[in-house]
């Protein structure tokens, strides 16, 4: 009995640490990152009053195949993210997402929608395009 009691915190620790990455967790993280980076991108374009919290960002993530359950690491995730831009209205982008086993992801957008990897800001300086592709963690 005592041995069992000793094991309890260990198993609790294991259960607590065992990350279960599902579509919702990924969508929350990708949506949040996108909102922040969209605001950053807008600021680079001279629209400094666009704030991440005002964008009503949302995302849905699913894995590629019909049979593949929407959970776990993989390189076939797709996330549809949307924001409400105060000037440009509702905007939606589909990102191809790689979710790594360590709980970090890498999202890449379609170039015809998100633009070039580096873009010129309102001040004429060439900078990284924050929404072209981005990394983050859950």
């Amino acid at each position: 009995m005592r041995r069992l009691l000793a094991l309890a915190p260990v198993s609790a620790l294991l259960a607590a640490c065992g990350p279960s990455y599902d579509g919702d967790a990924l969508a929350t993280a990708v949506g949040r990152s996108f909102a922040h980076l969209y605001a950053r991108s807008a600021a680079q374009d001279g629209r400094v009053d666009v704030r991440a919290d005002d964008l009503q960002a949302g995302a849905r993530c699913a894995r590629g195949g019909e049979e593949t359950p929407d959970e776990g690491p993989g390189d076939d995730w797709r996330c549809v993210v949307a924001v409400s831009d105060p000037q440009l209205g509702r905007r939606q982008v589909v990102y191809e997402v790689v979710l790594k086993p360590d709980g970090c992801f890498s999202a890449e957008g379609p170039p015809e929608v998100v633009g070039d990897p580096r873009v010129r800001g309102a001040d004429g300086v060439l900078r990284l395009n924050p929404v072209y592709a981005f990394d983050g963690c859950l």
Partner: protein
Amino acid sequence: MRAVLAVELRKLLALRRMRAAFAVVLVAPPVVAAVLQLQQGLPTDTLYGRWVQDLGLAFPLVLLGSAGVWTIPILAGLVAGDVLSSEDAHGTWATLLTRSCSRWELFWGKALVAAGATVVLVLVLGTSAIVSGLLFVGRQDLVGLSGQPIAFPSALALVALAWLSTLPAALAVSAGALLVSAATRSSLLGVGVPALAAGGLGLAGQLAPLGGVRPLLVVTGLGDWHGLLLEDPALGPLEAAWAAALVAVVVLLAGAVLLLRRRDWAVP
């Protein structure tokens, strides 16, 4: 004990290999940082790789992300891997044990010097990386791993903390090297085995979803710093990794002590 520390430290600093290691951890970061600024492509397969030309603090994190798996275990093994076995190689145990300090004073002195040198090497590497990033790119705010902006002073503190967070795992590798060195009496194995084991486990942690087993691999703690940079910092994995590293240090050192205790000191 103090005499042991002083002697071991002097021996360590006289090693060409150690001097080379110090030179490398000091000089490599600025060289790598300079190359990354000049080249066209970005190391996008590493966290913060995309930001490396735009944000000064991205570079130390890129280096931590890539150096974590291999460099830190190699540095840890390099010192600890032969503090015991070099006495075998030189056949100096017998002489050493006739001195007026106990076997255990010797052991703990050697272990402390190995641990201290590992910590110093990792800290020099981290500091050099941070300074290189600030020097070559600048003091920009950082972008967190939830995309959130992190203002410069706190970003600098977080990057430093991320580097510090790898120390428990580095010390665990160091203790492992001490054990291998005691068991095999071979410096080559003492340096090589822990580095390979740590690298292999670290790679496994990057490639496979290990679930609850993850913190038990100890070296996965080398990569758990990302929790620090989230909008709602997640310290759980980091704390689990630190606890696992602490347990590993105790177990591995106990193993080394047992081996030395059972050893037949009669000289061949």
